[in-house]
Amino acid sequence: MKKFILTSILILISLFSFSQVTNNFEDGSWIYYYNRCWGIGPNSTYFGTKVNSAQNQSFNQSSVCETDNLGQVNRCILESPWINLSPGNITFNHCIPSFNGTRTLKVYIFKKMENNNTEHIHLLWSYEYLDNLQKIAIIPNSYTGNWKIRWEWEGSGGNSRGQIDNILIPGINISDPSNNCEPYTPIIIDTIYNYYPAINTSTLAFEDLWPSYGDYDMNDLVIGYKFKITSYDSYVVSVDGTFIVKADGAGLSNGFGFQFPILPSNILSVDGNGNQNGYDMASNGTELGNINKATFIVFSNQHDFMSEWNTVKGENVCPEYTFNIHIKFKQNSITLQQLSIQTWNPFMVKNGIRGQEIHLPNYEPTQLANYSLFGTGDDDTQIGVKYYKSKNNLPWALDITGNFEYPIEKNDISTAYLHFQDWILSSGENYKDWWSNISNGYRNPNFIY
């Protein structure tokens, strides 16, 4: 036990003792070091210092930090990041490659006081060049705390430059490149909210006669949706799904559900859904039988809450119906990226028959779908190749960004949206805004509900 404690103490001491900030400028780019909080580069503050790979003869390495011609610019500066200094020697190589004019190099430590922005600066070392030989500077430092090191060259006459390389500073780099290179202060890990697809809803529009085409008015079930994902330290805490049922242009009694690409065992509970008649649900609120992907049933029959079609102009209208589904996740089980919310898989269940699922084009069925229906009627699903597309590659459902003003009953979507077919034929390259553009020639309002 004694040995263990002694070893631990020695390791800690050695780690602390050998912490040092280094720079050998071998990356060869001032941009590289500037973005790591070294005061270097051709801007007004650090004008004249840059990393130069052409001067490889100086310190037997491929690049050094070099000033401009000090005979012309007279003064150049290099600054370290903020360093929590430890006592010890600051060392570096330096020289002037040609000896002409007068040249001096001074090393300071400095910091800005937080309250009045004034600078505390102390000269550590000064050297006047008398030749062009390469040198090693060893500067004892007893200061501790948060400081920057500044190298300052001065010169007049001649054309010689200053060079520096292989810097070693006892201490820890505490500059934060993500906060204007100020000393790092830990951020408070707090709850993060993400919204998918955005803070406003997008729209799902279904045709319900799959595997036959139907009237292609895309209003048999129209649902606005969005998700709010709550996470903490990158792990999903909960997902709140909002589903606004807008249109019920169907004679059939259709249900609606969706899948996440995660195991059902990651889910703690589900609240806020409607009727789930005819479905087998587990105690955590996911559907039994779908063992590979968590499956949620929002409602089993839209006629339970939609008393009108909301697809025929002049007829009675019922209010939109909103479901707020709250899904709690097991602690630290799924990260935001594992949830991969953009790959959610919504589907309609046709006429209360569980196996008759209708998905977005190229979205796979759940494990409870009736695979024998594939390839019947107008459907041309080929497992592993294409899903829920016809022989003409047409779908039975659309996922449309933002609000979609759906067509009226029995009117083909193309009669309402005049560039819908152009969008299809161009593989989505042309008329990317076919539903949202209200300019002349884009839509026929007579056929939009």
Partner: protein, 127 residues
């Protein structure tokens, strides 16, 4: 007589031209189900973007900050999370297919990135 002949010629040319026009098929069928969509068309009104973040391996290992991926007008946040500046990440998110560029913010750093491709790289470097 010349005038009459000329007029007849013009009228008959117009009639022939009109007949030809009548024979041209409309470029898009009226019913959507008559359309043959390209087999590789994904039917999406969004596009999936893969953002590869290259961490700065040689800085203080504790630096964390909040990453925001925003729309070009900065009104929509497509993704946000607290990430460590030292680590590499791959983040996948979707944007409307009409979006042409995004803004990435990380602490004091902000960079507009063109969506010329759906695979983008961010390394915190300001040029």
């Amino acid at each position: 007589m010349k005038k009459l002949t000329l007029s007849l010629l013009i009228i008959s040319s117009i009639m022939i031209a009109c007949q030809k026009t009548e024979n041209i098929e409309p470029t898009t069928p009226k019913n959507t189900i008559e359309v043959v969509a390209p087999s590789n068309f994904d039917w999406k009104t969004t596009k999936e973007v893969t953002l590869k973040i290259i961490g700065m391996k040689d800085i203080n290992p504790n630096i964390k900050n909040q990453l925001y991926v925003k729309s070009s007008d900065e009104k929509i946040v497509y993704y946000n999370d607290i990430i460590n500046m030292n680590f590499d990440y791959t983040i996948i998110f979707s944007v409307p297919s009409t979006e042409t560029n995004i803004i990435i913010e990380y602490g004091s750093k902000s960079q507009r990135i063109n969506l010329l491709t759906n695979d983008i790289i961010y390394d915190y470097i300001v040029q």
